[in-house]
Symmetry: C2
Subunit: 308 residues, 2 copies
């Protein structure tokens, strides 16, 4: 797959290589089933190694590369973002939440291991992320103050003022689509928090690890915000247009639940135009960057063109 | 309430004062309902300010005082332990877990706010703990490497190799009490992890904040382990002997569920002797400490003599 930007970056290969690095790091950092409780570690790994695209850690890597940082020593830190993402998927799928039976073509955690185990596996993955980030031995070449700033970035992005807040608002909005009490503001809040916050944080973490100067950090933050929002809009479009086979999960469920989405609010065509505009703005935010930022530019496009 | 150790420490007042400091810190650090989503922050605060004893942060403070450390600047850090504890209570009470309707005399989170909100409130409290611990502004007088060591201590104690692991094993053991396949080893694993790990960590965090020398850290670790285990044994005894009015929660539920407990395994009298021995051993671990450790000595006794 060649990029449309004129760059000779092979995006498919770029993504595949980094996915392998991240998978290897996660494999090394997480206790195996040989550690008690074996079944808990099995459940954690079942969801973690379910074929995820690792798009958030890869965004962190690409951001770090865009400012010339050293990727290898940053792998444990960026991989921790995937632990947070995976925990959020497990909890979102629970019967009390989205009540999904399938994810990435496989049974969801609670269908496979039971509800209590799924709750605890999610809890343990979130905790493991912070454990990994604060591991001085594993991250010995990264200064303590940078590790703390990364921790704070994830903590803020994943918490009640970020991802969990967005998930909560999303849940509260269920059944209210079409109602006049739900505003575009609410829709924006949900999307920018539920999905956007962690993606924005991933990009910023790459910047923090590379000790980005204030200007570069600002540009990368704008990039992260635009891509994060585009990601959720693309997800909503996929829910409408994708097939179950392609996405590996139940589709057209948003409508069934009268869940608030962009396509539902502004229509499918307008949603696609909106996603395109966000990607263009994300790429424009990188105008001062050289070819080192080509992966970021390409990933922005990939995020809205993906089929899963 | 005077201490039996001959010390003139007024334990009741000691605990009350520190509880006030911790409550004030938590009040300042956690977003109010004015921040969106208001209902999520309401749920987080509902459980956090439900009249908890704050025994874990107080243990951290007492450990810090025992080696002459400055308590005031440590308040945000030690208060974060209570966020982790509160999240664990919310998730433990869920229908898929212990399915409890009351806690501290009030409706549990999921009975009051619904199951999805309770799951998310727990997730958000756990995340808030790590956010608080990595906040450089709030903890500006604490060196970055000490903050990281505290974070790692909590991460390890609360995760799959600690508290969540213990909770998982406890859940797996349900219905198996009396069965010959459950060993004393399993019982010890559950108790030392489910409750013990975070209490041990609380004491160690006080030591880390005070830059304890290796000998003092070892002694305080032994103290924390013994008190942590005694706390759970006392909880099991309370479940058998306490009244619902005293404990504010359903009692005698362990037996109904055939949950594995100490009194069930070795009898009530032997369990009380065991708790007494643990407290004595905890106090002996502090033999090299002066009167600065009197609060720790008194709290050890309080932990097994409490009625709630």
């Amino acid at each position: 797959m060649k990029l449309k930007t004129g760059s000779d970056l092979d995006l498919e290969r770029y993504l595949r290589d980094r996915r392998v690095w991240i998978d290897r790091t996660l494999e090394d950092c997480l206790p195996t089933q040989r550690f008690a409780p074996g079944r808990l570690h099995e459940a954690m790994r079942y969801s973690l190694f379910a074929g995820g695209k690792r798009i958030r850690p890869i965004l962190a890597i690409a951001a770090l590369e865009s400012i010339g940082g050293d990727v290898e020593r940053a792998l444990p830190v960026v991989s921790a973002i995937e632990l947070v993402h995976t925990y959020s998927l497990i909890h979102d799928d629970l019967p009390a939440m989205d009540n999904d039976d399938y994810r990435r073509g496989r049974l969801t955690s609670h269908k496979k291991f039971g509800e209590a185990a799924a709750i605890l596996a999610g809890d343990a993955l979130l905790t493991a992320a912070f454990s990994l980030l604060s591991d001085r031995e594993l991250n010995r070449t990264i200064p303590a103050d940078i590790l703390l700033s990364v921790l704070h970035e994830i903590g803020q992005a994943a918490g009640s003022l970020g991802m969990v807040g967005g998930q909560f608002a999303d849940m509260e909005s269920e059944g209210s689509a079409g109602s006049e009490t739900i505003s575009e503001e609410t829709l924006f809040y949900i999307h920018s928090h539920k999905t956007g916050a962690l993606i924005r944080a991933a990009v910023r973490i790459g910047a923090l690890l590379g000790k980005a100067l204030p200007d570069a950090l600002s540009s990368l933050t704008v990039y992260g915000e635009k891509v994060g929002l585009a990601f959720q809009v693309a997800d909503d479009i996929l829910d409408l247009e994708g097939t179950e086979k392609e996405t590996g999960k139940r589709v057209r469920k948003d409508g069934a639940r009268r869940k608030l989405t962009y396509p539902m609010g502004v229509g499918l065509a307008e949603s696609k135009r909106f996603a395109d505009r966000l990607i263009r703005e994300a790429q424009e935010a990188l105008s001062a960057f050289g070819p080192e930022a080509d992966p970021l530019r390409a990933i922005a496009r990939f995020v809205v063109e993906r089929k899963v």
